[in-house]
């Protein structure tokens, strides 16, 4: 889509805003700084002034438009049905088209344009990260030794020693498959939370679903979209569509709020005017599901028989709950597990403040928003926190650490996988070791 088309789209959306200010009630950033430019209606006013030429694409404007988590809470609360997130992303894109990207971002996105180089970079990163990062606790969280682009207070989960894609077979087969899905891992499950990625495969296989995990798949490109580099985003979208189109499947399954939103909304929107890709983007969009959504709404799943005695709470990732409307399904899975006590926290769907690279560029603000979430989590006394997004998970892990707590955070898939695993240990021999079988088959 050209800059012109973006502007046109903007105009219609902007006209819908009646400036009532209801967005103030729910915007996590506005709650912290209480400035009109931080909240949707203020940004919409500025976008209007940009369109009419009253204001220009200045550094201050760029700074203001960077103040958005794209959590969509404002959109959900808008009486006029305005999508401020769309206006903001489009404005960022026009800004990049006019002003270009800062050098650091340009370099990072150039790397993202080339899946091979990116993979190599991440491999090298996982080997060398020990130089710049030191462990802070037994669970393996780390902190920078010196400023390496991370705030010195920042605590993160490091890259896994080996990526998920390098460990799992491209096809995980099962006996009498009920279905066949392509697993789009996303970077967080591929490079950091590989156990969660493995759990997705295990859970699907335990439900007799064959899982294809394409080795060539790449970053979903959302960080690039968030930063307004639509050209690179389109390249990434086309690449991933090419990769996934090479497989016959009933569904595309992800376990990441951002990843699912990319497939369901962003790819078809990015490529709407691309004759070669528009149709395929729409086809894959209709087939894309979060793991919980696929298990509950599409395939049906087998409730585990063995109990996992644990008290959990669930954090709704923004792009999962508001992006694609998935919030009941993960809860249904959690509640299906015997022994699990589910404690709903206050405002489970309030943004955790991560918003991907936002937590890097606006650490203070991001931390303040995170700490509200941590208070809500701890108030229900869980012994584990569940979510469906790697970025949220890392943010919550850090928040809990900074609050002096060590409650573990997991993906929903991991809890379900651990319940299935208990069954296997209980009647070993009777039950088929699907993973083993799968690996053997691929090897064979």
């Amino acid at each position: 889509m050209s800059e012109q088309t973006l502007m046109k789209e903007l105009e219609a959306e902007i006209a819908k805003c009646m400036k009532c200010g209801n967005c103030q009630a729910v915007c996590p950033i506005y709650k912290e700084d209480m400035a009109e430019w931080s909240v949707a209606r203020g940004k919409i006013k500025l976008a209007r002034d940009l369109l009419t030429g009253k204001l220009e694409y200045t550094d201050r404007m760029e700074q203001i438009f960077s103040l958005c988590l794209t959590c969509q809470a404002c959109a959900e609360n808008c009486p006029c049905g305005v999508r401020p997130d769309k206006i903001i992303l489009a404005t960022r894109a026009v800004m990049v088209a006019k002003k270009g990207l800062p050098a650091v971002k340009r370099a990072a996105f150039n790397l993202l344009e080339h899946p091979g180089s990116f993979r190599w970079g991440m491999r090298v990163g996982s080997k060398l990260q020990g130089v710049g990062l030191r462990k802070v606790n037994d669970s393996g969280l780390v902190k920078p030794r010196f400023p390496i682009g991370l705030d010195m207070r920042r605590v993160v989960r490091p890259l896994a020693a080996k990526s998920l894609l390098s460990q799992v077979p491209e096809v995980t087969t099962v006996d009498n498959p009920r279905g066949r899905v392509v697993f789009f891992t996303g970077c967080m499950l591929n490079y950091i939370y590989t156990d969660a990625g493995q759990a997705v495969i295990d859970v699907l296989a335990a439900n007799n679903i064959e899982v294809v995990t394409p080795k060539a798949q790449h970053c979903c490109g959302i960080p690039v979209i968030m930063n307004g580099d639509m050209e690179t985003a389109r390249k990434i979208a086309r690449y991933n569509i090419d990769v996934l189109s090479g497989y016959e499947c009933d569904a595309v399954v992800t376990h990441c709020g951002t990843g699912i939103d990319a497939w369901v909304h962003h790819y078809p929107e990015l490529l709407a005017d691309d004759a070669a890709y528009a149709e395929q983007a729409r086809v894959l969009s209709a087939k894309a599901y979060d793991l919980s959504q696929y298990l509950v709404d599409v395939a049906g799943f087998r409730p585990p028989k063995k109990a996992v005695d644990t008290t959990v709470t669930y954090h709704d990732p923004c792009h999962m709950v508001r992006g694609v409307g998935v919030s009941a399904q993960p809860r249904e899975i959690i509640r299906s597990i015997p022994g699990v006590v589910f404690q709903e926290m206050k405002k489970p769907d309030r943004c955790c403040g991560s918003a991907g690279s936002f937590s890097l560029t606006h650490y203070n603000l991001s931390s303040k928003i995170r700490d509200r979430k941590i208070r809500d989590i701890l108030s229900v006394g869980p012994d584990r926190v569940l979510t469906s997004c790697g970025a949220c998970r890392m943010q919550i892990e850090e928040g809990l650490y900074q609050a002096g707590d060590n409650v573990p955070v997991q993906h929903v898939a991991e809890l379900l996988a651990s319940a299935y695993e208990k069954e296997e240990t209980a009647d070993k021999g009777n039950q088929r070791d699907y993973q083993q079988t799968a690996t053997e088959r691929v090897a064979g």
Partner: protein
């Protein structure tokens, strides 16, 4: 040059983080929630954090003779916070502490930046409530609510903001602080300055501390909707309910245009052929609520109403959903929503609704009318498009006619939104020349240099 010096002094006083001057910052404070208003940029936006800051800002403004536009969340519907004559926009949101909840005197003391819903959540912990609940209750500040004397759905039984404000600290136009009122129920010392400042729209002083009255949260409530084949039936029911000595907490009406728009928007299964829906809620002690609910049903049915009573909170939410959706649904129809608040004596509601309909037909406009039937405060809502100049000229004529009708029926231009810029030109209709002169005299007495929110209510 003068502006640069002013900014420099403000920075010295508040620190540079609290003083914003870039074009983008100023543009963000050039508007409020009011449609069809002039856009005016301030010279500077400041964020005071305490009363001393406010005193200093007003004193500096005095020295430089620049206007001060006090602003809370900017959700008002009268153009009340637009910095017409540039100068300083003073944002009160960082003064947002609840200072005290006094469960013996049943008062709360807070700073002006506290959000109304936050205050209610805090006092709710003690089984108390602060009744005024404007539509913007989740976003509007206590300070803004005091300045506009906002009303809301509970006005009929519980009154409006002015009935709950007991004491104020106010920074006067000369930068000095005065306190008025307090925690006592009775207070006849001097002029009733509290009442004067409430609803003054920030034109007479800047409120920095508020003491408000709280009441015990009602133990029980019952909610019903009644559908009527005619406006007159609904109006008779409203009168009948009050006549039978029942004062509902909520007594809301939606006209046919609103019903049809809401139904198109939400598909709730509303009777789109009916002329009016009443939403009624009674609250209080459980035994009283039962009796009152019975009376309400009887009166509605006697006037041709079809009544549904909510069995539980979930059903209650269902019944209230339609009324809550009235404005959003109308707003979805077109880009601009002109929401008025002309108010008439309760017994004139049907006449007013008929008058609005006639006006809508005459000027070829879509007007949905809903509002607080119990207190005569209607919200004729014109759906239009600001960019369509031809239609907007018809909108302006229709608004003129609506106000003319309200005043003719013994009503008022504004039940709860205030005069601001939007309704200034109609003020003489309600007050007469002598009345407007009296308002101006009050303004001149307290703000001789015309510095506080100039250009609002009256222009001097």
């Amino acid at each position: 040059m003068k502006v640069e010096k002013l900014i420099q002094e403000l920075r010295q006083e508040l620190g540079s983080e609290a003083v914003k001057t870039e074009q983008e910052d100023l543009a963000s404070y050039a508007f409020d929630a009011t449609p069809d208003m002039p856009v005016a940029y301030p010279d500077v936006v400041v964020f005071p954090e305490n009363s001393a800051h406010v005193e200093a800002i007003v004193a500096i403004a005095n020295r430089y003779q620049v206007p001060v536009y006090t602003r809370g969340s900017g959700t008002n519907l009268s153009g009340g916070t637009i910095p017409l004559k540039n100068g300083i926009v003073m944002v009160m949101l960082k003064m947002n502490k609840i200072l005290e909840i006094d469960t013996e005197n049943l008062t709360a003391t807070c700073e002006p930046g506290v959000i109304i819903a936050d205050l209610n959540a805090a006092v709710g912990e003690y089984g108390l409530m602060y009744p005024p609940d404007p539509g913007s209750v989740d976003t509007a500040t206590m300070g803004g609510s005091v300045a506009e004397c906002s009303g809301g759905l509970r006005g009929l039984k519980y009154g409006v903001t002015k009935h709950y404000i007991m004491g104020l600290d106010v920074i006067l136009a000369n930068g000095k602080k005065m306190s008025c009122g307090g925690k006592t129920v009775k207070n006849v010392s001097g002029y009733d300055m509290v009442k004067l400042f409430v609803g003054a729209e920030g034109t007479l002083g800047v409120v920095t501390r508020i003491i408000c009255k709280l009441i015990p949260t009602p133990e029980a409530r019952k909610t019903a909707t009644a559908t009527f084949p005619s406006i007159d039936g609904a109006a008779k029911a409203v009168a009948g309910i009050i006549k039978s000595k029942v004062i509902p907490a909520t007594l809301e009406i939606m006209d046919k245009v609103t019903i049809q728009t809401v139904e198109n928007y939400l598909h709730l299964g509303l009777p789109t052929e009916s002329e009016a829906i009443l939403v009624i809620e009674v609250d209080g002690l459980p035994e009283v609520v039962e009796k009152e609910a019975e009376a309400v049903v009887k009166v509605c049915e006697a006037n041709g109403g079809d009544v549904i009573i909510a069995a539980d909170d979930k059903e209650r939410d269902g019944l209230l959903a339609a009324r809550r959706a009235a404005l959003p649904a109308l707003a979805q129809l077109s880009p601009t929503t002109v929401l008025e608040d002309a108010t008439v004596p309760r017994n004139k509601v049907p006449e007013m609704i008929h008058a609005i309909r006639t006006i809508a037909d005459k000027y070829g406009l879509t007007v949905g009318t809903f509002g607080h039937a119990g207190d005569g405060n209607l919200h004729p809502t014109i759906v239009t498009d600001e960019t369509n100049t031809e239609e907007m000229s018809r909108v302006h004529k229709a608004v003129d006619a609506i106000f003319e009708a309200a005043v003719r029926m013994g009503g008022t231009l504004s039940g709860e939104h205030g005069i601001g810029i939007a309704k200034q030109k109609y003020l003489t209709q309600e007050f007469g020349e002598a009345g407007v002169e009296a308002l101006k005299a009050v303004k001149r007495a307290l703000d001789p240099n015309n510095m506080l929110n100039p250009g609002k209510i009256v222009t001097i």
